[in-house]
Each structure stands twice: as structure tokens, then as C-alpha cells.
């Protein structure tokens, strides 16, 4: 369907013009993203190529000797046992928490979708409330709820014969896991629910007329339809879990004999950057972390997107 040039003067074929116009939709984002994200990232990452030492002696006075060490920091980081121990912990944590969060969010989104329009709004608001509560307040709330001395959960479980101490070393993973789940299911639910709205309603009528029950419809029609969103939320969940920082930092104060300063990779990076003061090494660690997460994300993406037309 290309339009022939009328006057013989070469014109840009309209397909190319269309492609440029299509690309132009992304230009504002790319420009801003390059400036506000890529520039700091490249500047920040350059730290990994150097090693900083004090000028010697007492180390007072701030004199530094900065030497270019190329990829040495990254190699050291890639072999750091503390880092990999932390990595193992967050992976194990993620294997449980990510499916849990995604599963619950999906179920909530499906349940919401099964409701009549009129009541959906209220339920949706209620389910999103934990996400609206800021992190430091959520911490206060759950510290209270978990408290063995004054909180209601321990008392309630006691009354049915279970003796649980949410602050004990044994329960730390469960306590953190619950905190992560509570904080994130609303957010994930909203994204999945939004995706469910684009499912054409007529397909349901047709399926019902074929005799399909609600569960069958949910499983065979709705879930595949939201697969792209589910992959997105799952990737974000994985990335967030591997970068676990706030929850273990909080629980370090109540279970310090278990949760140490470098318990998760993110805590290790923070500690190296701001406590030990070794930004070069911290940057190297975060590059290794980003690579690991990138590989995992790519594997997950490939595995779930075999039939995706992109």
C-alpha cells in the first residue's frame, strides 16, 4: 500500500514515517530516563574500577590514594563467600515468598473480577490499603502485633496451644515473610486486576454457554490473558526479594544473634558503602548482584514467554 511519489521528488515512504512517529512516542521517556537514571548509573558504576586507600599513618586528615584496578574489585566480589551466603538466603526466601505473593495477588484479582461492579471499588480499596501505608508505619504496626509481651498474635496463638515467638531466631524468616507479603500483595493485585479488565466480556458469555463453570473460566481464560502482567509482577517480585533490605534490617535489632550486618546481599552492599566506607567494593558487589538478578530474570522471562508474540 505504498504511495507513489507524485512529482518524482523522493519522499519518505510512509511506513518509515510511521516507524519514526511510533518511535517518537518513546522519545520523552528515553530522554528523561537517560538523564536521570543512566547518567547516575554510569557515574556510580565507574567507582568499581578503582581502589581507595588512606595515605597511611594514622589515617587522619582525609588524604587518599586512588588507584585504577580495573576489574579486580568485580572478580573479588564474584568470589566473596559472604555475598554468596546472603544470596543463598534470599533465593531460598524468594522461592517461598514470590509464588506466595503472586498466587495470593492473582487469587485476589480473580475474586475481585468475579464481583459486581458496584461493590468492587470498596473491596479494591481495602485490599490496596497495606500498600498505601508507608513502610515505617507498617513496621510500627507489625512490631506491635508481633510483640511477645504486648501483641495480640502471640496471645491468640497461645490460647489455641501454639507457643510462637515472632522475634525469636527460629521465626525470623516467617515474620519477615509475612511482612513482605502483607506489604506487596495489594500492589500486585492492582496490576493484575487492571489487566483482567481488558479481557473481552463476550468470551465469558460464550464460554458459559458452553457450560464452563467459574473456576474453569478463571483458570483457562482469565489467567492466560493476564500472563504478560503476571510475568511483570513476578519479575518485580523476584527483583525486590533478592534486594531484600528493610525487613532484615528491622529484625536485626530484635534477633541480632541471627541477622548480622551482611545477612542479605543488599545489607552487605549498604554496609560496605556507608559503614565500612568502601564504595568501590560496594559498587562491584552491586554489579555482581545486578548480573545475577538479570540472569534469573531472563531465565524466568524466557520460560514464561515461549508463546508470547512480543
Amino acid at each position: 500500500m505504498s504511495i507513489q511519489s507524485v512529482a518524482g521528488r523522493p519522499r519518505v515512504p510512509w511506513r518509515t514515517a510511521q516507524k519514526w512517529k511510533g518511535a517518537s512516542f518513546t522519545f520523552p521517556f528515553i530522554a528523561g530516563f537517560a538523564l536521570f537514571t543512566l547518567v547516575p548509573v554510569f557515574l556510580g558504576l565507574s567507582e568499581t574500577f578503582y581502589t581507595t586507600k588512606s595515605a597511611g599513618g594514622l589515617g587522619l586528615g582525609g588524604e587518599e590514594v586512588v588507584s585504577f584496578t580495573g576489574l579486580a574489585q568485580i572478580f573479588t566480589a564474584a568470589q566473596d563467600p559472604t555475598f554468596w551466603a546472603g544470596m543463598g538466603r534470599v533465593f531460598g526466601f524468594g522461592l517461598v515468598v514470590v509464588p506466595l505473593v503472586q498466587g495470593i495477588a492473582l487469587v485476589m484479582a480473580l475474586l475481585l473480577d468475579a464481583l459486581r461492579r458496584k461493590v468492587v471499588g470498596r473491596f479494591r480499596l481495602a485490599l490496596l490499603l497495606p500498600y498505601m501505608i508507608p513502610g515505617m508505619i507498617a513496621t510500627m504496626i507489625w512490631l506491635y502485633l508481633y510483640s511477645p509481651a504486648v501483641g495480640p498474635l502471640t496471645a491468640a496463638l497461645d490460647s489455641i496451644g501454639l507457643h510462637v515467638d515472632f522475634f525469636s531466631s527460629g521465626m525470623v524468616w516467617v515474620s519477615m515473610g509475612n511482612l513482605v507479603v502483607w506489604n506487596t500483595i495489594g500492589f500486585n493485585m492492582l496490576i493484575l486486576y487492571g489487566s483482567l479488565q481488558s479481557v473481552p466480556g463476550e468470551i465469558f458469555d460464550a464460554a458459559r454457554m458452553d457450560g464452563a463453570g467459574d473456576l474453569r473460566i478463571a483458570w483457562s481464560i482469565k489467567v492466560p490473558f493476564v500472563r504478560a502482567s503476571l510475568v511483570l509482577t513476578m519479575l518485580l517480585s523476584i527483583i525486590g526479594t533478592v534486594q531484600l533490605f528493610a525487613e532484615p534490617t528491622l529484625f536485626r535489632t530484635v534477633a541480632p544473634e541471627t541477622i548480622t550486618r551482611d545477612f542479605t546481599p543488599a545489607m552487605y552492599i549498604y554496609d560496605q558503602a556507608f559503614m565500612v566506607g568502601n564504595i568501590n567494593y560496594a559498587t562491584a558487589l552491586s554489579i555482581v548482584l545486578a548480573l545475577v538478578v538479570g540472569v534469573v530474570s531472563a531465565v524466568v522471562y524466557r520460560a514464561t514467554n515461549k508463546a508470547d508474540e512480543a
Binding site: W20, L127, Y144
Partner: protein
């Protein structure tokens, strides 16, 4: 009726049904169809109780803990730690609210206003930029698209802590450090929102619709603004709301990029009050709790007012 008429009727009706689903069954087994529909409705009735019960359980889990916050906001300082956290003691809510709005020269309302400004301005910009970018990524193919996607996903992977100093330097060089622009402009660009928009656009904006519009003579930009954005209303609402909530609750960024206390958003302000208690004789936890409760009200109101954007399946009516 003669077979000819029936088939004509069936044929006459076919084009509409062909687009929306399998053809309507012949009217002969009408009674059976109504029974089927009623049976389906009955089974849906049973399921509806199950759905409500399950949802109610989830709501309890989500909202229950917030109850503590509501109760705590009504307590006096003395009773905050001494009384049962899940039930009221002496009601002190009015005094708490008064203290909240007058403490430190009435800076709290200022913080709320700042946060509203940052949230609204950056979310509007973000929604526009992200919908456009997502739409472009989803509906057009061009070289460099894969690279864009790679960068987008890659940006999720860098822990923010390491970007503090480089970002700070950038903002200083750009002249936006310690200004309201530091909170608004960078907020326009979120790789996550773009990817979300892309995912939604792939589902909600069919290529056929765009072709039909092009045949009608519309230019690409017009298609986006008049058709694409309406179809992407759910995506837009989701992106807007999530970003607004994120901005409302953000405090790491503002902590680094805003120095003046009068420019802080509400969470930085509350965080500063919370930190007072740990190393000084002032314990402002009560103010923080009341402040957090009050601060969540605008978000709730926003969500309620945006209900209408979560529509479903608007696509199909537009096709002929």
C-alpha cells in the same frame, strides 16, 4: 418457516456475531438455553458466597493491622504504650489532631500541601510519558526497540543506594537541587510504568482498530490521543495511582534532594519526628501516628475518585 428465510436471518445476523464470538445457536432449543442460563446463574450464586467469603478474609488480613493505627491515633502519649493496642482508652483524637497541625509552627499542613503538589504534578507527567512510551513500544516495531527494553529492565536491577551521590551531583549541576522541580521532573520517568503501559497496551489496543483509524485518515498522534489513551484508561489509572502512592510515601529521595524543611513531603517530616525519639527527650511517636493516619486520607480519597477508570472491555464497541 422455510429454510431459506432462516438461513437468511442467520446470515444477516452473522457479521456481528462473527466478531464477538461463536454464532448464536438456532432458536429452536430456546427452553434449553434458558435453563442453561439459569443453571449457570445458580452455580454462580453458590460461587458468589464463596467469592465474598474469601475476599472478606483477605480484607481482614489487609485492613486488620491498620486498625492498630486508628486506635493508636486516638490515644494520649501516656496511654499509647500502656493500654491494649487494639482497643480505645481515653479518646484524645481532637487534641492529637490539634497538636499535629500546630507543632513546629504548623509545618505539617505545609508538608501535606507539598506532597500533594509533588504527587499530582509528577503523576500526571509520568502517566502521559509512560502511556506514550508503552504505546510506542507495544504497537510499533522499530529498530532499537529490543535495546530500549533491555535498558528498561536493566534499570530495575541497580540498588538505589549507590546512585545517591551521582544523582546528587547531577541535580546540583542541573540546578534543581533543593527545589520543587527535583521532586517533580525526575518523577516523570519510570521504567516500571513504561513496561506496565506496554503490557496493557498490547492487550487493550488492537492493531485492527489502529488500522481502521488510519484508513479513516487519522495521523499517528491523533490516534494515540483520541483512541489509544481512552483504551488505556485502566492502565493510566493504575500507573497514576501507584505512582501517586509511591510519591506520597517516598522519603529516601526527598531526604537526599531537598534540604529545606519547608519543602519536605509529609513522610520526610514524619520520619524526622520519629527520629527525635531515639536520641532525645522528645518522644513524638504520637504525632507521627496521627500524622500518618491523616496523611493516608488523601490517598483513599484519590482512589475512590478514580474508580471509574477501571473499566472493562471497551474495545469491542468501536469496531463496525
Amino acid at each position: 418457516m422455510s429454510t431459506m428465510t432462516q438461513s437468511t436471518d442467520a446470515d444477516g445476523a452473522a457479521p456481528v456475531e462473527a466478531v464477538t464470538g461463536p454464532p448464536v445457536r438456532p432458536r429452536r432449543p430456546a427452553r434449553r438455553r434458558r435453563e442453561e442460563v439459569e443453571a449457570a446463574a445458580a452455580s454462580r450464586g453458590v460461587n458468589r458466597w464463596f467469592v465474598l467469603a474469601a475476599l472478606f478474609a483477605f480484607v481482614l488480613y489487609s485492613v486488620g493491622p491498620v486498625w492498630w493505627l486508628i486506635v493508636a491515633a486516638t490515644k494520649t502519649k501516656q496511654q499509647l504504650y500502656r493500654t491494649n493496642g487494639l482497643w480505645f482508652a481515653d479518646l484524645n483524637l481532637v487534641e492529637n489532631l490539634q497538636a499535629l497541625f500546630t507543632y513546629q509552627d504548623a509545618i505539617y499542613p505545609r508538608w501535606l500541601a507539598n506532597t500533594a503538589l509533588y504527587g499530582l504534578a509528577s503523576s500526571v507527567g509520568l502517566t502521559l510519558v509512560s502511556l506514550a512510551a508503552g504505546y510506542g513500544l507495544a504497537r510499533y516495531s522499530y529498530r532499537g526497540k529490543g535495546l530500549t527494553m533491555g535498558f528498561v529492565i536493566g534499570s530495575f536491577l541497580i540498588p538505589g543506594v549507590l546512585l545517591t551521590i551521582p544523582s546528587y551531583l547531577l541535580y546540583v549541576r542541573l540546578g534543581i537541587f533543593d527545589t520543587v522541580w527535583a521532586m517533580i521532573i525526575p518523577g516523570f520517568f519510570s521504567a516500571f510504568s513504561v513496561y506496565l503501559a506496554k503490557v496493557y497496551a498490547q492487550g487493550a489496543v488492537p492493531a485492527e482498530l489502529m488500522e481502521a483509524a488510519r484508513l479513516d485518515g487519522a495521523g499517528e498522534y491523533r490516534i494515540f490521543f483520541q483512541i489509544g489513551m481512552r483504551l488505556l484508561s485502566t492502565a493510566g489509572a493504575t500507573i497514576f495511582l501507584l505512582h501517586f502512592v509511591g510519591t506520597w510515601n517516598a522519603f529516601m529521595g526527598p531526604l537526599v534532594f531537598l534540604r529545606t524543611a519547608e519543602k519536605w513531603p509529609v513522610m520526610v517530616g514524619l520520619y524526622s519526628w520519629l527520629q527525635r525519639g531515639t536520641d532525645s527527650q522528645y518522644d513524638l511517636t504520637g504525632l507521627v501516628i496521627t500524622g500518618a493516619l491523616v496523611a493516608s486520607i488523601p490517598m483513599v480519597l484519590l482512589m475512590i475518585s478514580m474508580q471509574r477508570y477501571w473499566k472493562s472491555g471497551v474495545t469491542l464497541g468501536s469496531l463496525k
